[in-house]
């Protein structure tokens, strides 16, 4: 890591410098409307080399998959193939305009059509929309589809969405955006959905259930078919949160488990890079009952040509144009390299890696649900008196590892959610497990090593409380 403080661009700025030379104006000039012009524009002034060094140095202050093991639970930080980037950088994509007309964008439409097909195949869906830009956006699509389905059947009173207590925060937040009411379903002792509580909640106000399977505990929901049946019998529909598809692609089709609509995060299972926060794609797939409600437009094939079309009862448009197309190119490249066999090997190795790592870690750390896990597992960081999960996480940084997801899911105290992914080698898993073992020993013998961690980063632990109390959100000279 680059430990040298890097000034802000504004602090590097010197009057009169410019990092890009633009062409001279080659047309006769037209007078500008002076009364409409701004007096000042506070942007930094930098030469090109300074900009290059600035961002190169900043990049060196990040942990990333390309530099470090990054076992962030629920985020599927697998290797992002460089071929994906090469494929997406083609000028034929970068210079394609969304409104040039279907006839001029046949290559882009054909790619979308093939990707729709491939993603539908991995879930057993009858149709797919690539429009949602992120997982939460896909959730919004799915929940709005369920809402519109009930409205179209004259049942607008179905406004209750059932959500297990282990769910991502986006699930309830999405329901609120769609105007639905959330009823939280507790987990049972095994980490699955509490069936009695679910049964009691299934009344005629139920719109559906949002269920993540495998769950955020990294466990496959053994009662999945029974859950779907209960909800269907009550007149509701099943939303599958596909954040954890990496564990089951090629192993089981969600539709066969009773899922009616589902999103996958292409930036997780389908290897597109997270980009420090995005962009992602939260494509949605639907069973026949909900396919007409998909957001659009979607790509259809008419004769030999591809065209955009709105599904028959579409909820409408979730964003301008067609989705995060550049991300779709990456996902398509990945699907083509993997094929059917590769998808299954991906899931198998992800689950094997997680179970192997769990086996190593549970010798030292409590694992809340000790049964067979899928692609991730949840351990607990309270290995010694006065030691919290946060301390373990920060100490891992000193060992050169990105910490796991911590304090989530909310139902496990001191949670450390560890997802190794299939692309890590056994040696890396061993090294990570050994680091955790050594940290557990340090927790007993030298606890301050943990409390003061990390020790070798550009900054130490930052005072987040003070930062939120008096926010400084911009440089102001």
């Amino acid at each position: 890591m680059n430990l040298t403080p890097e000034p802000l661009a504004y602090e590097l700025s010197r009057p009169g410098r410019m990092g890009t030379v633009l062409p001279a104006c080659d047309v006769p000039e037209t007078a500008l409307p002076k009364n409409l012009l701004r007096a000042e524009l506070s942007l930094p002034e930098l030469d090109e080399l300074t900009v290059v060094r600035h961002f190169t140095r900043l990049s060196q202050k990040n942990f990333a998959i390309d530099t470090q093991y990054y076992p962030l639970g629920s985020c599927t930080m697998k290797y992002n193939p460089k071929a994906n980037e090469q494929a997406a950088f083609h000028p034929g994509w970068r210079n394609a305009h969304p409104l040039a007309g279907d006839a001029h964008n046949q290559g882009a439409l054909e790619l979308m059509y093939r990707l729709q097909d491939s993603l539908a195949a991995t879930g057993g869906f009858s149709a797919v929309s690539l429009q949602p830009a992120a997982g939460a956006h896909g959730e919004l699509a799915g929940v709005l589809m369920i809402r519109e389905y009930h409205r179209s059947r004259g049942q607008p009173q179905r406004r209750t969405m059932l959500i297990p207590d282990s769910a991502h925060g986006t699930n309830p937040a999405t329901c609120a955006m769609a105007g639905l009411d959330v009823v939280t379903i507790p987990s049972d002792a095994e980490g699955g959905v509490d069936m009695d509580a679910l049964r009691a909640a299934c009344d005629d106000t139920v719109a559906g259930i949002m269920i993540t399977n495998p769950s955020t505990l990294g466990l496959f929901e053994r009662n999945m078919e029974a859950i779907a049946k209960l909800v269907h019998d009550a007149g509701g529909l099943v939303y599958g949160d596909g954040a954890n598809m990496n564990a089951i692609a090629g192993i089981v089709l969600p539709v066969e488990l009773g899922v009616d609509v589902m999103h996958y995060n292409l930036h997780k299972t389908f290897s597109t890079p997270h980009g420090g926060g995005g962009p992602g794609v939260g494509m949605v797939g639907a069973a026949p009952v909900l396919a007409p409600f998909l957001p659009g437009p979607v790509v259809v094939k008419k004769g030999d040509a591809y065209a955009f079309e709105m599904p028959a009862k579409s909820i409408g448009r979730l964003k301008s144009f067609y989705g995060n197309f550049g991300v779709l190119v990456r996902a398509y490249a990945y699907v083509r390299m993997m094929g059917a066999d590769g998808m299954r090997r991906m899931a198998e190795n992800a689950v094997l890696n997680a179970n192997y790592l769990k086996h190593r870690v549970e010798k030292t750390y409590k694992v809340k649900y000790p049964r067979r896990c899928m692609h991730e597992f949840v351990a607990m960081g309270d290995v010694a008196e006065g030691i919290r999960t946060l301390d373990i996480a920060k100490r891992l940084i000193d060992y050169g590892f990105h910490p796991p997801t911590i304090y989530f899911p909310l139902i496990v105290p001191e949670a450390m959610m560890i997802e190794p992914t299939e692309t890590e080698s056994k040696e890396t898993l061993d090294a990570f497990a050994e680091a955790l073992e050594r940290i557990a020993a340090e927790a007993r013998t030298e606890p301050d090593l943990l409390h003061d961690a990390p020790h070798n980063t550009p900054v130490g632990r930052l005072d987040e409380v003070a930062a939120a109390r008096c926010p400084i959100l911009c440089y102001r000279g």
Binding site: V51, F321, R336, L352, V459, D463, A468
Partner: protein, 439 residues
Amino acid sequence: MPFIANSDSDRSAMLAAIGVASMDELFADIPASKRYPKLALDPGLSELEVLRELDALASKNLGADRSAWFLGAGAYNHFIPSLVPALAGRGEFLTAYTPYQPEVSQGTLQAIFEYQSMASALFGVDTVNASHYDGATALAEAALMAVAANPTRARVLVPAALHPEYKDVLRLYLSAHPVQLAEYEGAPRDAGLSDDVACLIAAYPDFEGRITDLSGAAEAAHAVGALFVVHADPIMLGLFKSPGELGADLVTAEGQALGNPMNHGGPFLGMMGATQKLVRKMPGRIVGQAADHEGRRGFVLTLSAREQHIRREKAVSNICSNQGLVMLQTTIYLEALGKAGLRKVAQLCWHKAHYAAGQLGKLPGFAVAGGEFFKEFVVKTPRPAAEIADKLAARGVVPGFPLSRYYPQRTHELLVCVTEMNTKAQIDLLASSLAEVTR
């Protein structure tokens, strides 16, 4: 096996350590009858084969780099300095997650802080969040903020000449609320404000390229307790008064033009800025300055009590993943261009667009719509615009956006966009080609 490190002997050793006999056993929780479906996917290919296939597909598209390109309408052909993709493509940025662990994410966090600083200066507001999916969803979330602030109000006012796809997105995002999207023509200050309005939205410029007169709008909106929301072209703001200076409470923009390729419509950059008093009601991630125990400056995600991972159904939005890498590209772009560069881009757009309007206005049967414009303008055509566009495409000229594609009755109008990418020779070619095909 693509992208998998472990060998068969590694796998055997791991299975033995766990104490299971085979891979299948790991999936015992999944009903056996449903396990291992036959996926309707082709067999996997090598990287070489896949890149060849994608090259063939990509080459079927008509690219702005191979034509005289005058099509905008929400996605814009601007110059991207080489350093933007070179730096943003570094694996340390590309393959990092959301910066939840600040000690090992200072690169991403400082870049976001710099973005917030520059974008808020451009908008003339106090702060900007770390991005939305695109301009349309940023605007829709701004409208949701206004509705949340005034839940009893029944109307959101939008210009009739707002991008039609943005209206669709607004309608869908507002569909959970008893709120009507009411359209107005003309100046925003005369939009029909009353105390049932949650917010007044203005487009700066509007979909047809006109620079909306924003004067008096903020005062009129505030007088009835409504928020004033401006959706702006960020390139235009390099030269023109900022919405904040004109009294906007919330500013949104499509940031694609700032250093990001058109990419068949995505990924784009939803920008949203707000005045100080609305910061804690804003959706999305926000980065703040902080200090460690030694007093060293660092940056953290802050004000997270607004967000879904803390507040669940009480969060201000469900947004989680955003457009981080696109935001980074815009940050690099703004720093490479700087104050003078962005102004220069805006000036080139202005001069070239006005030159083009002058040339097209002289053609027989053509007439440029009135009003002040920046880089886009509507021209009336003597023959159907869609027909003209088809004819010109065959000559390597993409003349603009036939408005009939969104408004079927407006058959003889073309929305023409001119940027710094268009040379005088291209503009002259556009004019001569239009003359020839309509003669």
